[in-house]
């Protein structure tokens, strides 16, 4: 697919325009020329080539597309790419250390069997890291409440909650 989508001449019926956006993702700068309607999720996946964030609904209802903006979690399907300009966007691809070492949350997901098909996993992990950083991982109930925006159809919730509890205990410990 081409990197540029220009609908302005293509479709006068629906006035849309393209614009230049500069995104900083995992510390790297990307200059894009995109349709103003482009979501941050589509910008990451289709224009930058970072396909780790997943699309499960495109309506902010599943959490599969969760990424960080300045360390806070957002659903990237409901965020316009243009809105992310000037902020620090973090995705699952940026979590590993330079030596390829897994982030503690990634390791905890292995340790607690917190995934099956893995489709929800990038979103779960980004959400989980933020959940701990926000201080919303003090009890199992609190974790369940603050992770309820991330669906897992494989039903790996018990492992997910245990992984977060584990990382939270070590971080706060």
């Amino acid at each position: 697919m081409t990197g540029t989508v220009t609908l302005s001449q293509a479709q006068p019926r629906r006035a849309t325009a393209s614009l230049s956006v500069t995104l900083m993702v995992n510390g790297a700068i990307h200059d894009l020329f995109i349709d103003v309607r482009t979501s941050l999720l589509d910008a990451l996946r289709e224009h930058i080539g970072l396909t780790g964030a997943k699309k499960g609904c495109d309506h902010g209802q599943c959490g599969a597309c969760t990424v960080h903006i300045d360390g806070r979690r957002v659903v990237s399907c409901l965020t316009l790419a243009a809105q992310a300009q000037g902020y620090d966007v973090g995705t699952i691809e940026g979590l590993q250390g330079v030596d390829g070492a897994l982030h503690p949350m990634q390791q905890a997901f292995i340790d607690h069997d917190a995934l099956q098909c893995g489709y929800c996993t990038p979103g779960q992990i980004m959400s989980a890291i933020a959940c701990v950083q926000e201080g919303h991982a003090k009890s199992l109930d609190e974790i369940r409440e603050y992770m309820s925006g991330n669906l897992c159809r494989c039903g790996a919730y018990v492992g997910i909650v245990a992984a977060i509890e584990d990382v939270a205990a070590r971080t706060q410990g």
Binding site: L7, A10, I110, G118, R144
Partner: protein
Amino acid sequence: MSAIGRSLKRLEDRPLLTGDGCFAADNRADGQVHMRIVRSPIAFGRILDIETDEAKALPGVIAVWTAADIADLPPIDFRMTRIAGLEPYRQHVLARDYVRYVGDPVAVVFADNPYIAEDAAELVFCDIEEETPCLDATADPVAFMPERDPALLSEAAVITKSYGDMEAAFAGAAAIIEMELKVGRHTGVPLETRGALAVRDPETGVLTMYGAAKVPHYNRDSIARMLGLEPEQVRLSEGHVGGGFGIRGELYPEDVLVCAAACRLGVPVKWVEDRREHLMAANHSRDQVHRIKAAVDANGFVRGLVDTFYTDQGGYVRTHGGTVSDLAAALLPGPYLIPAYHVEGHIRLTNKTPSGTYRAPGRYETTFVRERLMDAIAARLGLDPMEVRRVNLIPEDRMPFDRGIEALGTHVLYDSGKYHDLLDRTLTRIGYQDLKADLARRRVAGEAVGLGIAFFVEKSGLGPHDLVTMAVQPDDTIEIVTGAASVGQGVETAMAQICSDVLGVPIERIRVIHGQTDRIAIGFGAFASRVTVMTGSAVKIAAEALRDKAIALAAPLLQADVRTLTLEMGCVVSRDSGATIGLAEIVAQSGKDLDAEGLFRADHMNYPYGIHVAQVRVDEAVSGIQVERYLVAYDVGRAINPMLIEGQIVGAAAQGIGGALLEEFIYNEEGQPLATSFADYLMPTCHEMPPVEVLLREDAPSPQNPLGVKGAGEGGITAVGAAIAAAVDDALGRPGLITSLPISPRRLHALLRR
């Protein structure tokens, strides 16, 4: 130490944790164009005209097709359970003459990018003469397509099965119990929507479809046949799959369209559906109404059972043919003796999304029906519900138990089972009597708490056979190629463990290739909990052949007699001299390939079984149901990797809770679907998910395969509806209250006011 039976960490995890997974939508090809389906906005009507000019005129649009443009493509055929008379109800790739559900594909748009494709799809105008939709499978059959064939009615087939002397059963009965029980329409809803990328190599002419799942070999053959290609000219490739649950990977109209378009337009074609489309276009499931009549004696023993049921098949009969209804009819009797049984299953077409299989097809529904009956018998006769089960359970000394009827064309022969033993263990584990007393005390104190227990028999390991090839690689790894598929259930790890068990090679040095039609001639894919049984057995056979071959090749190299050689930790070892040689070294020194094949056949399925226990609290003020405790006891014969199995069981239980309490595809009178987003189709989140205890047993290995295994993918879901319904009855002190699933707040509210 044996690699079987250990909870080894999954080989699959790392790429999935780092964002390196390759799911359907992650595939791309240079020059790809994007496909968008135009779907019927109307549930039932005759197509008068489809106007595509405006869409075609949109810059960036490459083509727009209606049925007339692909008139040469046949309807999508059945993959299983072909029943005479079903053919006229098959779905064409694009609707012809009539639309039969909201979401029925009527046209397809190809464009430079997905935004243009979506805009153009909105410019396609369908002129449809609306007819009154049929939305009730129990109503009298109506014409399927009135103008085309007024005599073809919406009852596609009736499945009948029968054994025993029903007249005698009813003649001597102490009580006769009649009930009507319903299971609502819900389905798998994997988190990844469907998608595919089809690319035709201009040089070789080979068409490759990425994004395949579940049954790649079968779909390769079907696509080739439909497009008039040879099977060798079509290749299906499975990447990561974001959940299958029975619905994903069946051959859908969209799969055929991407492939046809890649051939005809001469460019790669990509399609990814959105969630709304998924909820109205991918297979729905369940949606059965059962009317049962049972003759019981004074002890609660069921002397005879008669069932008439209706499966709401939706708009067309898809690839599964009569599978769901056939399984429901064959497996309704479950773990009980029931000496006389007669069932009539009506497969009825309606104007809803076509339905197919979803995890534990036919068993989730009939376990609800049968276990509700057991509870009703207990209530009617004033017996303990567990005692009623006990008098009806098939005793161990009757195994193997021949049911005397067929399921999916195979004889139903329960291979092994210690049903009473599992019931005792389960009741001991939960402290049945104390728990009952405790709940009674809480009820006296004003809480609406209750306990429900349901027994079930699953089935797994559908044949006919499975092939794997295995070869030692120069880097001393072992490559296993299987025609099975993986839908995220840990197939690679389980297969590697079985191989490792024979060869002693650590699983990290074993690579499992699956779902690639160009790597192995045959394959039956992943469904019906068949992979561990069928593919696992083939892996064991191949590994043993590879072991024997390694020893034979090593003998001259070690100058030893084969009888003195063993394979340990991936090396051939001489018991006499202590000399060893590694597998790759054998290849290097002998100059011969070290490879093997394993073929496993099975004529019968096998039958794992289990028990679900639910403890719930009903909040009458908000008509809410909270699951306080959930336990699944399950005998899988032999557990290859207990951690993987527990994950499967707990995950399946989550889906079962969804189907019991939350999930339902509701339609209004016009046949418009009202659940087309996650705001309306509610699935359990980690908030609703109770902790699930698993009592995993290996008391009754299957005598039908060399591993003794039975499939574990479905038993976590099978009895959830039954157990929760019983627990809600108990909590409210109203036996027989729940006759319909899901027990949504709306439905419970209505019941509580009654």
